[in-house]
Symmetry: D2
């Protein structure tokens, strides 16, 4: 445990990469909300593999079926279950390497936790494929947030050291987020985008992979949401982001670089314009004391390179407890960072929705 998450909504995740299917239940959604299924499908397609030659050739349409909690086009208020059946699974690929613990994967840790009884095929429950239901749930959360004019957008800030320009907080807008989402590669600067693509293809040629950094922004969140101590907005977002496979770092606002600043610089000083409280800078990424201050929430998530590579690696066979060399055949994904963009947005949307559904007066 636990595949269950949330305070005011509860999501329950299930499934394995090569089993019958994967899915999610969302409980606690307000009743009577009309869902836009096309928008959900669009978000899922952003995440899905096989779109181009920089991602895994596994072709999953990720067609979802809503089983419950949805009636006459609207949420019912009862648990909404979404099922995504598995199709393009080649389980035989995995059988022969059953006891080979792939470096960088959860093979060994999963084996230890589940005493060798978990479905190991394609990573099983640890597969990145489990992010598809998260994107589904996040797409719904995004629609709720849109009602409150809250928008979430992301771009890939860094692939293997190749950097996009950072978000300029004064230009963040729903249109800009939408444009980024429509791009084949969610990058602000098209030259960076091309260079990133080449870096990925280079890695692919070597049967290797690369990592990267995603920058995410959430705009129009009202001041005053989130809670000290353990439900700080940072804690909630962090708990979600570090659930996403391959995330190894997270920072809010200026983040690690704040360690090199003085208080007089890091303190975001206030201005009032048009009766509205703002800060001149946003080093704190829209969050003070764990609570939103009305400025854009900004955070960066660091993704390690995809562990699935074709290059020869040193590993071991857990049955015989013998070292062995491993050359993984088949489909690899030289970079999952672009596909992870809608996942970080989905996670963020779920967190913000969950917090907004906290009632603070009777």
């Amino acid at each position: 445990m636990s595949s269950v998450w949330g305070n005011n909504i509860k999501i329950s995740l299930f499934g394995e990469s090569h089993g019958k299917g994967i899915g999610i239940i969302i409980d606690g959604l307000p009743a009577g909300f009309r869902l836009n299924l096309e928008e959900i499908a669009f978000e899922m397609q952003r995440r899905s593999p096989g779109k181009n030659n920089t991602s895994t050739p596994r072709k999953e349409k990720d067609s979802f079926e809503i089983i419950s909690g949805f009636f006459e086009g609207k949420t019912t208020g009862t648990p909404l279950c979404c099922m995504i059946l598995n199709h393009d699974t080649k389980s035989d690929d995995y059988e022969k390497t059953r006891y080979y613990m792939r470096p960088g994967h959860a093979d060994y840790t999963g084996y230890m936790k589940y005493k060798g009884c978990n479905d190991f095929r394609g990573g099983g429950h640890f597969s990145g494929r489990l992010t598809a239901p998260i994107v589904f749930a996040g797409a719904i959360a995004k629609q709720f947030l849109k009602e409150k004019e809250i928008y979430i957008g992301s771009h890939v800030l860094d692939i293997f050291g190749i950097k996009d320009k950072a978000f300029d907080e004064t230009t963040l807008s729903p249109d800009m987020f939408n444009a980024l989402a429509q791009k084949e590669y969610s990058v602000l600067d098209d030259i960076s985008s091309e260079m990133m693509k080449n870096a990925i293809l280079d890695a692919k040629k070597e049967a290797d992979s690369v990592g990267g950094i995603i920058e995410t922004a959430i705009i129009n969140v009202p001041a005053g949401i989130g809670s000290p101590f353990f439900d700080s907005v940072e804690s909630r977002l962090a708990g979600m982001m570090f659930s996403i496979p391959a995330v190894k770092g997270l920072e809010f606002g200026t983040g690690f670089d704040m360690a090199h600043m003085k208080g007089s610089e890091a303190n975001d000083q206030f201005t009032i314009s048009g009766g509205k409280v703002q800060t001149k800078t946003n080093h704190n990424g829209g969050i003070q004391g764990g609570i939103t201050n009305g400025m854009p929430i900004i955070f960066k998530t660091a993704f390690k390179p995809t562990p699935s590579i074709g290059k020869k690696q040193q590993s071991f066979d857990i049955k015989d407890m013998k070292e062995t060399e491993l050359e993984i055949q088949g489909r690899h994904d030289p970079c999952i960072v672009f596909r992870a963009v809608p996942v970080t947005e989905a996670g963020a949307a779920l967190v913000i929705l969950d917090i907004l559904l906290e009632k603070d007066e009777l």
Copy 2:
């Protein structure tokens, strides 16, 4: 909400900086465990202010009283409540600036969340002082972990750009952690330590403050604990670390730098020596797929500079909604990073204990 945390133990935090007291309840501790009160007092003294001229002169003995759940020297298994009364409070300092929202603090966000009704004095419930009960609870968690030969140690890796050497994973040991904890400044390299101290005193002279980075290691955690998806060890530690006031960044293992690595480098390859599985490198910080792999758990937390500074800052009066300049008088803490060291350890100890108390067979 929420001041309540935990799956298998539950901790409940309460109190305000200038109210009657602060404290914590810990529920779910195994019964019959003999507590070493001196060790608890030692941990609390590590965190307490007023020890030297690089921290706030507020003198709080932080003497704790155990109210319940402790009988004849041992835990009873029922909720253990600890109370820490407040003494050295000068509330008058704060009254005159009641409606002045200090930059970098939770004054404004707290005001918005609690509609101006929270105890604003000294930051109230947002005060760093609330970390004292966390250290109390963590000191107990550490004692439980010690029974399993699990140890946690930290050092300040960076203050305002002045760096300590990083942990060498081959030399981590309980003795080393103990030596670090005994030092006035928890730094491996004494020359760095002296430079850091000077940087803090320089900031103090300017009525300013500095931030820094703490590196924490946990050794001897068995392989196979933690859970996909939402209770990954990273998610749990992150949720706790981002609860600590002033933390703005977190990375596990090689963290953000993994974004610049190739998979063939980032994948920690396995070796077997003496029948024991290990990895040659530990870029993943002891965690794969959210589950421990038996290697040291390593993470770094970035702290922003203390927002309490004496320098003139631009702020506003929330009653009149007018901009104003603010010069905060009185006691400042030019750097809380050293005092935060036992807090990160306490948080980590609570997380690991909570996970270890998950039962995985009937």
Copy 3:
């Protein structure tokens, strides 16, 4: 909310009576446990309707499909999802009475809670059909408990005032429970059974329904499980039992009759025989201070008569807010008490398993 339940296992329930399907996720099951699918099917068949002329003619095979968390015949330790598709649904029956609020049903309360947006067909999410996934999950829990030699059995103690003899605590055994489960009507005394059946058929003839009382026993639960205050074994069982549609009363041991006893009589006095602590009587139903004492756990659940009746009733149309008479056509279930027997057992099994999975030492 909430369709999510449990501390150490989490179950998540979803679905509507006339939607695509219903189901459940169980998270936190120990890995590597071999499931007996026939036993699960047997439990589900005990609950299923259409078996004889005393229950609803809706014929649902309740064939379940395990989607995840089950691999090579054993639990994987990851979330186990079970799906039960709906087949024999005649939704047209319901459309014409959409705005007619049936007395005794959740039509009106569901309409108010969900603003008229819930799937009203056949009771939707409120349908007794939702107990099928509970029985599925409980059947798995029962198998785990059997490993610890813990057994659960029930019989119908009372139908419309016709009483079975009560459990004799000295004769409770797995064989006896099994024999009860195998019977078409789970009643100890066959003469009572016949009279109960006739009472049901009488009600059916009048297009009416009857209620009853189930007595449940759990044997071999070790002394010392459960927790004060809010997780008393009684609280946990009560929370579950009152989730079951139609349950309106619950008592442990001698229950309501203890209000008429003196302390000297109600206190179960101790004896020691063969080094084993027992009580001479079991008025407290195996639970003292919310914790088990090793004696059989005994409780009784009162079920109101099925609200679905054919008789003319006074109701109202919520669209027009006008009173109206209502004669519900179609399939009625003159008594659901017998079908509820495996549901109470399933609920009890889930509660006991959840409590047993609490870890009380490191």
Copy 4:
């Protein structure tokens, strides 16, 4: 575990009967609510012992101190901690019978759960004294509910078979509840009251005790609150009621007697008067499908006789594992039912407040 309760508020209970003190934290209360401390003190005095010769002579003023979460007369929105110190404790009484397991008490079950390490004096954490903080928290909840014109009242319906008249649902009113609370004995019929008092004094003379039944009503709860499946209003109230020491039975509305009714009688038929939906009868106690229907919520709780009696009983010494006779000296409480009246109300108030704080639209 668990001493923590609640979904939208969290209460955390701590303390032992003969330790330093007992108390409670309430988190999640809306900020800015002015508390009436006199009303809290009144509720606590209703529960406190030593008021007359029908209850225990232990004299506890139960003076509470609010430690946090309360500022300038109002709730702050941060955790509100209440501490009640212990005074009139005679721990020596208990030392000599340390290993004597009193029948009907939690001595044995607590010993088994906590391996003999719990504070056994006066029942420790199991003491009825722990209901004092519940009454404190409930008194606050009542004040919140009053804002919504929701009122809770109770009376003792039965003591050792002597019955008060039942609530007449047409006459329930805040004034009536208030009058009952002001009475020395909360009984509607003064003749019954006198007879009950005599029955208690008779039991007292014999060094014995008696039990009873409390009937509780909650009025003006809006239709449409509560949730299927596991958070039905009945489940929530039951979970709370069975947490109260000595409760062994609970029924809603007509409860167990519904087992003897036909559907046509048990279904509460609707009427509309003045545009308001009501039911002609209220057999379902204001709850259908786990959700309120706007009618008064009515339930009855059965209390076993106080286990503390002076009469000789058969018990055993758990150290020597030998049977022994036990004559408990000192202070006994021949009937706790009257003192339990404000406890049931407090519990109910907490449940209803917690449910009302669920947000059902964004």
